[in-house]
């Protein structure tokens, strides 16, 4: 039996070496991409279930409990239903743009995962400008929404796409400034180095010296993903369903997936940049040989889950912002707060009062 497995492995390795070196790298990268995306898509499916369940309990309901045990198969049933529905294309719409818009919306949300480190060295592309890459990719997600709104040839859709465009451009600036704070603290744009800079237990995480920037970043993240209370893009009571009002079936589902993929992305990024990613909070208190003290994938996942939960909690709790209040919060509150805190941080760096060593 053992011999057979050994033989199989040997043949496998031999077949692997038949590929030219270029192809081997290519296939290896492809395998890693699949390894990241498949769990991500499962997470996306189950965060929709978690959302309905959590908001259900918050509103003293049960939530979905019919499909499968405790409703666990609900996301799969939803996906099947959407797959088999017809994709209706409005008569006077721009067909090509109408169909490519959902793709443009989900592509950046998935591509950004290339630079996210899950554990020490466990990253698809360990690039130096990782932070900039993430910022650039999240900023092009808005095209999906704008193009969807315009190509639908519907006044509700275009109103929504205008709202989203202005909102995302406004909050991106605050988000970028908050990231400048992280960059100043860590002295690196590499996400792995940013996490390593926070080593030493819960007290050395960047959330403490950068507390205002943390709040600005996370709230801007909520606004960037168009989630409640900033969900004027799809304000049901004002503009029916917003930019995706003309979409049906799988085309709509892709927008839906993109929104939830973005939630997970923002949660993961906040965990990486302010809560020390995969590092354990008990570093220094519990020995590194115990699972509580060792840094691992588990901690990264747990921290990201806290933020993902906040997204759902916000939706169940807050009423929708008025549009002019959203704009005021973005331009007149968040941007000044970040600029002031950058000055404070610069003084801290020069006076060497921060926890970081420059």
């Amino acid at each position: 039996m053992n011999e057979m497995i050994d033989n199989l492995l040997a043949t496998g390795l031999e077949m692997w070496s038949w590929f030219p070196a270029d192809w081997q790298t290519f296939l290896l990268i492809l395998g890693k991409i699949v390894l990241i995306l498949v769990p991500l898509m499962i997470c996306v499916a189950y965060i929709t279930y978690a959302e309905r369940k959590i908001i259900g309990y918050m509103q003293i309901r049960i939530g979905p409990n019919r499909v499968g045990p405790r409703g666990w198969l609900q996301p799969i049933a939803d996906a099947m239903k959407l797959l088999f529905k017809e994709v209706i294309i409005p008569t006077k719409s721009d067909k090509f743009l109408f169909l490519i818009a959902p793709v443009l919306s989900i592509m950046p949300a998935l591509a950004a995962w290339a630079v996210i480190p899950f554990d020490r060295g466990m990253v698809l592309a360990d690039v130096n400008a990782g932070l900039l890459y993430v910022l650039a990719l999240t900023s092009i997600g808005v095209y999906g929404v704008i193009i969807a709104g315009w190509a639908s040839n519907s006044k509700y859709a275009i109103l929504s796409s205008l709202r989203v465009g202005a909102q995302i451009v406004a909050y991106e600036i605050a988000m970028g400034f908050a990231l400048v704070g992280v960059l100043m603290a860590s002295g690196s744009l590499n996400l792995g180095d940013i996490v390593e800079g926070q080593a030493g237990g819960i007290s050395s995480w960047y959330i403490w010296p950068l507390l205002p920037l943390f709040f600005v970043y996370f709230i801007s993240g909520v606004a960037e993903t168009n989630r409640a209370p900033f969900d004027v893009a799809e304000g049901e009571s004002e503009i029916v369903a917003g930019f995706h009002v003309e979409y049906s079936g799988m085309a709509f589902a892709v927008f839906f997936l993109a929104e939830y993929a973005n939630i997970i992305l923002i949660s993961a990024l906040t965990a990486l940049m302010f809560l020390g990613g995969w590092l354990s909070p008990f570093e220094g208190f519990v020995g590194a040989d115990h699972w509580l003290g060792a840094s691992s994938l588990f901690w990264f996942f747990a921290k990201a889950c806290i933020f993902a939960f906040c997204f759902l909690w916000f939706r169940a709790t807050f009423p929708r912002y008025r549009y002019d209040q959203i704009m005021r919060l973005g331009w007149k509150v968040f941007i000044p707060v970040t600029i002031v805190w950058l000055f404070v941080e610069a003084v801290m760096v020069v006076a060497e009062v921060g926890p970081w060593a420059v």
């Binding site: 743009l97 400008a129 900039l132 900023s139 704008i146 465009g165 991106e172 002019d324």
Partner: protein, 204 residues
């Protein structure tokens, strides 16, 4: 063919095709989107030139912000395409002259003929940097030491432009009606509603 060669020609092809699309497409929204594609493919070529900071900034600033606002404006315009196309043939000679002039200037500055203003001769023996070389850091170092004055002046000019643009939009015309949410909220019942006592009567 090396994989990098293949990638370069693929991206360069997309750049040229989409740049042609910007001028050739009939719909202004399509033109704007072609321009986005041009920027994006350009940034991919810059990445291959190891200029990752510039490449990502191009996407971040131009694709992520400038073109979004540009698209906004174009989407809102009611453009009569037929009317816009009318003068195409008569403007064509002037256009060609300008295109040729621009090409000549570019070849003179960058190309192998003129004086080596851009230092392109040094590119022939350019070295490939190691994987841990940070383009961002190198750029920041010269920008904040050797060129700090020029950099600060550029920043101040941009700031002036921002303030000027904001003051231009703050213009209020007396004929335009505005909604003031503050006033809307402050309204009391007595401002809008008057209860009148009257005797009951039978309607006929």
């Amino acid at each position: 063919m090396m994989i990098t060669d293949f990638l370069f020609f693929a991206f360069a092809g997309v750049v040229i095709a989409s740049a042609l699309g910007v001028v050739a497409s009939r719909n202004p929204v399509h033109s704007a989107l072609f321009l986005v594609l041009t920027f994006f493919s350009c940034s991919a070529i810059w990445l291959m030139l190891e200029a990752e900071f510039l490449a990502i900034t191009l996407v971040l600033v131009y694709v992520g912000a400038v073109m979004v606002l540009f698209l906004f404006v174009v989407m809102m315009l009611d453009i009569n395409v037929a009317k816009m196309r009318e003068g195409f043939v008569s403007y064509l000679p002037v256009g060609i002259v300008f295109a040729v002039l621009m090409l000549a200037v570019m070849v003179y500055v960058v190309g192998p003929v003129g004086p080596d203003v851009m230092g392109t001769a040094a590119l022939d023996n350019a070295v490939r940097q190691a994987a841990d070389y940070s383009n961002t850091e190198a750029l920041g170092e010269v920008l904040y030491t050797d060129y700090v004055l020029a950099f600060e002046i550029a920043a101040v000019i941009l700031l002036v432009a921002i303030i000027a643009a904001i003051t231009l939009t703050l213009r209020r015309r007396p004929t335009t009606k505005y909604q003031t949410p503050g006033k809307q909220i402050k309204v009391k019942r007595d401002d809008r509603l008057k209860v009148i006592k009257s005797d009951a009567e039978v309607l006929k």
